[in-house]
Each structure stands twice: as structure tokens, then as C-alpha cells.
């Protein structure tokens, strides 16, 4: 399997504060890669940089063979990196279906299907995963519950048939049962062939579904390895992951 996303030696700073120092991350095609760590570790900064919302001082990012280090966010998205941002950020005054349709903004027609048909197929697909959204498709998005909003945010990103799906804290503020459901569904995405980069504080649960993981602390990658390695390393779990989950 080849690397879909390669981040090498990335440094980002806000004024004087260095948020990321020499971070290198690889995401292999068809895998789930997790980025773990406590608040202030630089996780969100890394995602913002990958999706082109901020500038970096050093290092580069290559996606699918294309250097995207300096591309603006909308261009990055057009290449197939879709993000479900932290705090969900759904368009509250639009309906559920309109939210989903805007997710498909970058979808292009293929040889077999027209754009409309592809949107239809994708809509069906997300409604299959989250039937509740189909029930509520004409509702204004802000009337949804927190869990439903999270589902909407994930589905919206999925609508573009992304090559790489980025999930920023999908479990934030949700009830454990819903979190379990969402993680189950994320596993399903992988089975369908979507590559996923997931950022989480909820480490143990994330490691269960991830293939490979990085731990970020104060802007640096301090540990990396397959999920199994990380899970079997009790010291690491205790020091960086375990306490958060009690």
C-alpha cells in the first residue's frame, strides 16, 4: 500500500508560540490512522494545516503525489481531502439535506455517472448509515441533537466521496452509546475503502478501530506505532492515554 498522505517535518507557529515542531506523519491508503493526545498537543493545528486553513513555516505535505503545502483550503478539498471539523460546524440555518448537498460541492461527474446521479448515490449511502438523517432531511439543521449534528457533519464530508476523510474529535460531547455507534460506522467506511485520519482524545476507543497511531504532545510526535503496539505498551497507555479515559 502506498502513502496517500505524507506530512514531513512540518512546523507551524502562531506568532512566537510553536504549535507544531517537525511533525512527520504518513497515512497509508485504505487504513485508519489516529492522532492522539491531550488538549494543546497541536492536533487541531495539524488538521488545519493539512486542509490549508493556516500557513506553515517549514516542511511539506504531499497528498496523492501532489504537493498541497501551499494550497488554499478549497483547492485541497477539491483534491479529495474532506474534513468533519471540530465542533461539527454544520450550517445551522440550512436544512439537513442542503447541508449534505454542499458536502458534495466538489463532486465531479465520472464516465458512468452524471453529477446528479452521483449525489443521489452518495445521499443513499449516508442515509443507509444514518437513517435518522433521512427522517429529518427537511428539518433546519440547528434543530438536530448533538449526536445527530455529529452524524450530519460526518455524512457531509462523506458526500464528496473523499479519498481521505478527516474526522476531528467525532466523540466530543456525545453520549457513550452514540460514540460507540459512530465508531462502528467509521469502521464500515474503512471497509468500503475510504482512508481515514481521525483525531481524538478518546484514545482507547480510537485505538480499537485504528491501524496506526501517533501521539502528539506539545507539538511533537512523541510516540508512533501500530495500534496493537501502542495498546500493548502499558507504560504509554498509562502515561499518555489511560488517565484521560477513566
Amino acid at each position: 500500500m502506498s502513502n496517500l498522505l505524507e506530512v514531513s517535518n512540518l512546523s507551524v507557529s502562531y506568532n512566537v508560540i510553536e504549535a507544531l515542531k517537525n511533525v512527520s506523519i504518513n497515512v497509508k491508503e485504505g487504513t485508519i490512522v489516529a492522532i492522539l493526545g491531550a488538549n494543546g498537543g497541536g492536533k487541531t493545528t495539524l488538521l488545519k494545516k493539512i486542509s490549508g486553513l493556516i500557513k506553515s513555516n517549514k516542511g511539506n505535505i504531499v497528498f496523492n503525489g501532489i504537493d498541497i503545502t501551499k494550497l488554499p483550503a478549497e483547492k485541497v478539498t477539491q483534491l479529495g481531502i474532506l474534513q468533519s471539523p471540530e465542533g461539527r460546524q454544520i450550517f445551522t440555518d440550512l436544512t439537513v439535506e442542503e447541508n449534505l448537498r454542499i458536502g458534495a460541492f466538489t463532486l465531479k461527474k465520472t464516465k458512468e455517472f452524471s453529477k446528479k446521479e452521483r449525489i443521489k448515490v452518495n445521499l443513499k449511502r449516508v442515509y443507509k448509515y444514518f437513517p435518522i438523517l433521512e427522517e429529518r432531511k427537511t428539518q433546519i439543521a440547528k434543530t438536530l441533537s448533538g449526536g445527530e449534528q455529529q452524524m450530519l457533519a460526518i455524512s457531509r464530508a462523506l458526500m464528496a466521496s473523499p479519498k481521505l476523510l478527516i474526522l476531528d474529535e467525532p466523540s466530543l460531547g456525545l453520549a457513550p452509546l452514540i460514540v460507540r455507534d459512530i465508531f462502528e460506522i467509521i469502521k464500515e467506511f474503512k471497509k468500503e475503502g475510504t482512508t481515514i485520519l481521525i483525531v481524538e482524545q478518546n484514545a482507547l476507543q480510537t485505538l480499537k478501530i485504528a491501524d496506526y497511531a501517533y501521539v502528539l504532545q506539545l507539538g511533537e510526535v512523541i510516540i508512533e506505532g501500530t495500534s496493537k503496539e501502542l495498546m500493548q505498551n502499558p507504560a504509554l497507555v498509562e502515561a499518555y492515554l489511560g488517565k484521560k479515559n477513566k
Partner: protein, 293 residues
């Protein structure tokens, strides 16, 4: 003046208010600033229209289409050269930049077109033959045309916003710009198109208005102010609110002038609107946006 005539006149003024208000709200939602310069941009292009009409002897239809084209370009130029570099400035600073644009255009007008006021004719010549009597009101064809064209344009815009891909793109940019970019929406183009559209609406308002007076630097000041008023009455939260409020404002103002007092009529209406705002601080259709602490 009878009631039917009053309402008809209000419809005409209202359609101009509504067009202008739509431009204001479009820019407010996509660029997060109140554009004070919209009227001036319209005026500039009305000057272009009047000058071409005079110099090259084109007819009013041709110059209108031409001026709408130049308005489109003006909007794009202003957005690209001025507003985009200022994207990170505060809301107030952006408003002041639009003031700067007013000043520049105010200076450019005598420079380019001379100091005399110019004239533009009606679309359909106004004469006793081109009038229609209805419920005791006399409606001239030109006004009917103006009202219908505005309604058609606004209807088209609403259809566009509601049912097309780019319309959706405009609405999401208005709702949350950063996330829109994450969804692949080229928000810069969206903002640019908003500026161009607003400029076209402003220009159209100026061309409607010119035959009643003249093309002069202050021709749209009053319209601009009333467009802002329509926006707060209808609320900045929706696109249809300001349009509705534009027609409403025109009607109420005319009624008040006719039946209350021509000295205090407008003052009374404004005070009533302030009282109304006190009880509905986000306008008729507006909702409170939750503010982060």
C-alpha cells in the same frame, strides 16, 4: 392623491428599496460588512450610462445593459483590489473602507464626467398615451415595467439561491465561511459575485431613479439609507426579510406623509420603527444568533 395611487407609488419606491436592500444584505452576509458604497457604485455606473447615451447616442436599453456590465466589473474590481486585502480588518474598519470607496468615486465623478448633472430617459416614454387607469390611480407603463422587472429579478435571485449549486454556495458562505472552504466552496469567488450582483442592483436602482431627477452624486443617498432601514426591519438573517421590509417601509412612509403630516410624517415612522426594534431587536424575520462568551 387617492389610496390606490399611493400604494402604486409605494410599490415603485418599494421595489427600488428592495433591490438596494438585497444588495446590502448580500454583501453583509458574505463579506461581513455593511457596504455604504453601494449607492455610490450605482451612481458611478449611472453616470457611465448617461454619458454613453449622450456621447454615442445609444438608446436607454442598450446603455442599461452596458452599465449593468460595467457595474459587474466595478463590483469585481472593488472586491479584488480593496475588500479582499482587507479581509482580516475589523468589521468597523471594513465599513470605513467602503467610506473610502465612496470618497474615491465622489472624486472620480467630476474628474471623469464633468461637474454637470446628467439626464437619463424613462424606459418607456411617459405620456398620457402610456398610462393605465386602475381604481382611480394612473399607472404609467414605465413604472409598471420597473416594478415587474424588479420583481422578476428578485424572484430569479431567490430561485437561484434556493435551488442551484452556486446559490447554495452563497448561502453556506453567508452562514460559515471557514467551513464552506473546508467543503470546497471557493468563497472568494462567492464574495466576488456578491459584490458584482450588489453593484448591478445598485446601478439598476440608479437608472430607475434618474429620469425623475438627474444623475448626480447624491442621487442614491436616500435610497441607501432606506435600504439599511429595510435591512434592520426585515432582519439581516434572511434574504427575503429586507425585500419585504423594503416594500413595507415605502408604503408606511407614503401613508404617513399623506395622512399624518408632511412635516413630521417620516420622523413619526422612524420613531415607531425604533420602538418596534426595541421589542424585536433582530427584525421581523431575524433570530438571535447565539454569541459566544
Amino acid at each position: 392623491m387617492n389610496l390606490a395611487q399611493l400604494i402604486f407609488n409605494s410599490l415603485e419606491t418599494g421595489s427600488i428599496y428592495a433591490l438596494a436592500a438585497l444588495g446590502v444584505v448580500l454583501i453583509f452576509r458574505t463579506s461581513k460588512t455593511t457596504n455604504f458604497a453601494q449607492g455610490m457604485i450605482g451612481t458611478l455606473n449611472a453616470y457611465i450610462a448617461a454619458t454613453i447615451l449622450m456621447k454615442w447616442d445609444w438608446n436607454i436599453w442598450a446603455v442599461t445593459i452596458f452599465a449593468i456590465g460595467t457595474a459587474f466589473i466595478t463590483g469585481i474590481i472593488i472586491d479584488t483590489l480593496i475588500m479582499r486585502p482587507a479581509a482580516k480588518a475589523s468589521a468597523v474598519s471594513k465599513q470605513i473602507i467602503t467610506l473610502g470607496i465612496i470618497m474615491v468615486i465622489l472624486g472620480l465623478i467630476p474628474f471623469l464626467f464633468g461637474i454637470n448633472n446628467l439626464q437619463l430617459p424613462h424606459f418607456i416614454p411617459v405620456s398620457p398615451d402610456t398610462k393605465l387607469a386602475l381604481f382611480g390611480a394612473s399607472l404609467n407603463y414605465n413604472s409598471i415595467f420597473t416594478i415587474s422587472l424588479s420583481l422578476v429579478l428578485m424572484g430569479f435571485l431567490f430561485w437561484f439561491l434556493k435551488y442551484t449549486r452556486w446559490g447554495l454556495a452563497i448561502r453556506v458562505t453567508a452562514s460559515n465561511e471557514v467551513t464552506s472552504r473546508l467543503m470546497g466552496v471557493p468563497t472568494k469567488s462567492v464574495t466576488m459575485i456578491s459584490w458584482a450582483t450588489a453593484a448591478m442592483f445598485g446601478t439598476l436602482a440608479a437608472i430607475y431613479l434618474a429620469p425623475g431627477g438627474s444623475v448626480n452624486p447624491n442621487m442614491l443617498v436616500d435610497i441607501q439609507v432606506n435600504a439599511f432601514f429595510a435591512c434592520v426591519i426585515g432582519g439581516f438573517g434572511t434574504f427575503y426579510g429586507p425585500v419585504f421590509a423594503g416594500f413595507m417601509l415605502a408604503t408606511i412612509k407614503n401613508l404617513s406623509l399623506a395622512y399624518v403630516s408632511d412635516e413630521w410624517g417620516h420622523v413619526l415612522v422612524y420613531i415607531l420603527i425604533l420602538v418596534f426594534l426595541y421589542f424585536k431587536p433582530y427584525g421581523l424575520f431575524g433570530k438571535k444568533t447565539v454569541k459566544k462568551v
